[in-house]
Each structure stands twice: as C-alpha cells, then as structure tokens.
C-alpha cells in the first residue's frame, strides 16, 4: 500500500513540475544572464519588426486599393499592440552589465518604431489617406533599422567600441 501511496505522491510531484514548466513556457523567464537577454532582445526586436512591416504592407496595399478601411484600422491596431508587447517584454528585463548599451539601443528603437506605428494608426482612424505613402516609407526605414539591430544581436556584445 505504501508503495502505491508513494507512487501517487511521486506522480503528483511530477505533474506539478510539468504544469509549472508549461506555465513558464509561455512567459519567458527574465534571467539577466548575458545570452538569455540577447535572445530575448532578438525576439522582441523580431516581433517589433514584424509588426512594423505588417503595418507598412497594409498601408501600401491600401494605396493600391486592395484593402478596406475597417480591416486596415484593425491591422494597425493589432500592430500597435504587438509593438507595445515587444517593448514591455524587453523593457522589463534586467540587462546584464555588458549589454547596457545595446539595451538602450533596443528599447530606444522599439519605442521610436512604436510611436511611428501609433502615428500611422491615428492617421488611418482619421482616414488621412494622403499621408499613408509617406508613413509607409518611414515605417519601412524603421523596419530596416530594426532588422539591422536584430542581425547585430546575433553576436555577443562587442567589448570596447
């Protein structure tokens, strides 16, 4: 009998371990370990760049007359949400000493891009279609910068300039 009871206790421990593992899978743990921060930053920048690119793509499609207003609005709102999620994710993580500089760059660029997406969203909701092309160009530039940043984050931090 004790063998069985012990077995159930072991099973309960295993199950709760599994559940907690699963829980942490969705919410990335924020350890200030150097490589871990770099990977998180890469993901955040990648998500941000996807959101910016989607916003740009949608705006350009509107100029070609391929999307309608409600859809465009929702896509922009979703992009904005994606940006703020990326900003929150990386902004709340403690960067290790060696990554302080890149932390500033990452958060700065993401915030800037987020502001741009917000501007685009405002323009879309107000139906200022004459501004779309210019906004799309600025979004393209922001996306470019983010992608360069993502490439840079492939490597560990360069020490000393």
């Amino acid at each position: 009998m004790t063998g069985r009871a012990g077995g159930w206790r072991r099973a309960a421990v295993a199950v709760s371990a599994l559940v907690s593992l699963t829980g942490t899978a969705a919410c990335a743990p924020g350890t200030p370990d150097g490589d871990s921060w770099r990977i998180d930053a890469q993901r955040a920048v990648s998500d941000a760049s996807s959101a910016v690119l989607t916003a740009e793509l949608a705006l350009r499609q509107n100029d070609h007359g391929r999307v309608f207003d409600h859809y465009l609005q929702t896509v922009l709102v979703e992009s904005e949400k994606g940006m703020s999620k990326a900003a929150d994710t990386i902004g709340s993580k403690q960067p290790p000493q060696a990554e302080r500089e890149r932390y500033d760059t990452v958060t700065g660029q993401i915030d800037e891009a987020a502001g741009l997406v917000a501007t685009a969203r405002i323009a879309v909701v107000d139906r200022e279609s004459d501004r779309y092309a210019a906004l799309a160009d600025r979004l393209a530039a922001a996306a470019d910068a983010l992608q360069k940043l993502e490439d840079d984050l492939q490597h560990p931090p360069r020490t000393g300039g």
Partner: protein, 235 residues
Amino acid sequence: MSDQDNRLSGALDAVLHLLDRQVVDAEGLLVCKVDDLELTVFDDGVLGVTGLLCGSAALVPRYADDGLGRRLHALWRRLGTQQADRDDPYRIDLELVHRLRSGVELAVGREGVLVRQGERGHRLNDVLQMTVQDLAGRRLGRVLDVRLEHETVDPGERIRVTGLVVGHGRPGSYFGYDRRPDMGPWMVNRVVRWLHRHSAFVALEDLDDLDWVAGIIRVDPARLGPLEAAGGSGG
C-alpha cells in the same frame, strides 16, 4: 430473451460486454450507463446477476481501486453524509432488459425507470476489487472479468456467474484481446496479449473460498485453466 442478436442469451463476460455499456430505452432514448451490476446469491447457492446499477453511488466506488480512488470515494461520501441513501445506487431490474447488443436495450420507456431500491446483494465491483490468492495466501493476481451464462431455470431464466478471469493488472484494460486471439490490429494484439499472458480462467465451483467481507478469493493454482472467448466461437 433468446435471440440470435442478443448477447444475454448465451455466454458473455461481464466487464467486456455488459459493464459501462449504454442503457437505451424501448424508444431508443438514452437512459444511463451500466455503472455496476447487482449480484445475488440465489437459494440454490448460485451466484447470479439480478440487476443493473447506475448513478454516482454505483460509479464512484469503481474508482476505489487504489489510494487516489479511495480518497475520492471518501470525499464523495463526505459530501453527502446527511443523505441516508448516499450509497444506494439506482437500480434497473434485469427483467426490464430486453436484450444486449452494442448497448443494453430495455423493454420499457425511460421515465422513472431508475429507482433507488435499497442496497441488496453484492456488486460486481466488489468482486473486481478482490485479490486472488493461492491456498497458502500468496497473491496470484486479481479478478479481471466475470464470466456469465444465461440459463433457464424454473420458473424463469437467470444470468449466472460461471467463473472468473484472473490475472495481473486492472480489469477493463484488456479490450478482450486476451480472449480473442485473432483480433487486429496486429501490433496492439501482440502487446496486449504479452502484457496479459498470465490471464487464466477459473470456474466458480473450483474456487476454494470467496470472502465478500475481506475481499479475498482463494484458489488452487492448479485449477486455473486457459482463457477462451465466452461462448466459444460465438460472435
């Protein structure tokens, strides 16, 4: 009840063919599941199935195979201490059963057919949770299934228990492969038959002792015979 199509007219295995089956009424509406079976010892000493038991009072005790199940059962009972009939399951008399095919078909409509009639007799679950020991008290295994057979007895007919299927592991998890050597798919067949290679059949009269209270069955291992499908080659 003697019908080509009716399993209850021949030999069958309680767990494999009858337990956990859907009960359907005369109009085809669903009634309940066969959560347990009522076993009665008749005047002539024969053990037989006399009714279907349904409801939580019949189902929850079936979880009580091990510690967790027992705790669940205890919890369930605590939740209803004020009820005098907490352990009293709903009962359908076997006379109301028309036939057994993929489900149990009743001869009546389902309105009011489930009645609490007070605990009488034993339950199949009691047998399934018994330990099987040899004459010296060493554990041989447990009861995996109970073989039943229809018999006509003056003035009517009844379903009697003719023997037990004994082996290692739990009832309900053998899917009948141990009794049906040719059932596919091949891979599952091999695995299940290997897992239950120790399963055997013992006739009820060959049992040394069946202690309902202690939950122990004593049998001489020499009395254990090979396992075959109920009713021979019957469908």
